[in-house]
């Protein structure tokens, strides 16, 4: 069987890639996709640790709710992105400064 550390390593690498993408990219859509990567990495960690202690399914239940919240987050985030695009004709997150005085 595959040791649990390998799964954690994959999750860590994906989390790193996602967080760097969220910080470096300025395209709102790609930043949202990076957030999805982050949530997926955390889900992988939860499921791997749950598999290491298979007495109950607490980790999997937690991952299930993370998926549900991530879906809601994607819907609302994309709606906000569309609204910003309508106002400023741009999806760059550093050009969204409507609240700046």
């Amino acid at each position: 069987m595959i040791p649990v550390e390998y799964y954690l390593l994959v999750a860590g690498v994906v989390f790193l890639i996602g967080s760097i993408g969220f910080l470096v990219r300025r395209n709102l859509l790609i930043q949202l996709m990076s957030v999805e990567l982050l949530l997926n990495a955390v889900n992988l960690t939860l499921v791997a640790f749950n598999r290491a202690r298979p007495d109950d399914h607490n980790g999997q239940i937690f991952a299930f709710f993370v998926i549900a919240v991530a879906a809601a987050e994607a819907a609302v985030g994309l709606a906000i992105g569309l609204a910003i695009y309508r106002l400023s004709r741009s999806v760059r997150s550093d050009e969204a400064d409507l609240l700046r005085n």
């Binding site: 890639i17 760097i20 859509l29 996709m33 999805e36 791997a48 809601a72």
Partner: protein
């Protein structure tokens, strides 16, 4: 059997990381979405390797079936403006990314040095571990209240998404909206 599971894990991990990289590196958001799709496929494979059958199915249905499609819809709705390049003013963010990379390497190194005792092989699970039967039973006993709260969250999210994305009606347009329209 063992060789098969190792090869399956390697393939899924490779797909996950390559997909994540192409999500972050692609200039065109459509390619980013396809990279996200590849990454989600890989994570589904990893879930299968961890005996989380139900979560693997949910991951495919919710992410590949709904979230990525939503992203592609929005990218196509926005059109060519979604591909404007030039992340020029990102010097600070790049530094932050480099620092993050260094921190990750540092933490991984420290953990590997301190861990000792080698790798922890996964124990063989009960035969019913991760099946829809047992998972559903635990979800509807231990997780019933958050499950019901999640439905409320979805209703709020859907109403909010519609209200935000639909914009303003005529008669209540802000000056900025008019400016954007013309």
């Amino acid at each position: 059997m063992n060789v098969f599971s190792v090869a399956f894990f390697a393939l899924a991990a490779l797909a996950t990381i390559v997909g994540a990289l192409s999500t972050v590196l692609a200039v065109n958001p459509i390619r980013s979405a396809m990279g996200l799709l590849l990454s989600i496929g890989g994570i589904t494979g990893l879930f299968l390797g961890l005996d989380a059958h139900f979560l693997a199915a949910i991951e495919l249905i919710v992410y590949a079936g709904a979230v990525v499609i939503l992203f592609v819809f929005v990218i196509m709705l926005i059109g060519p403006d979604a591909t404007r390049p030039a992340d020029s003013k990102a010097a600070f963010s790049r530094t932050a990314g480099a620092i993050l990379l260094g921190l990750f390497g540092l933490v991984t190194g420290i953990l590997l040095m301190r861990a000792g005792g080698g790798l922890h092989a996964l124990p063989p699970p009960r035969p019913e571990y991760g099946t829809i039967d047992t998972f559903g039973h635990e979800l509807y006993t231990k997780g019933l209240v958050p499950f019901e709260l999640a439905t409320a969250l979805f209703i709020v999210a859907v109403v909010g998404a519609i209200a935000v994305a639909r914009g303003r009606h005529k008669g209540e347009e802000t000056p900025q909206a008019k400016e954007g329209e013309s």
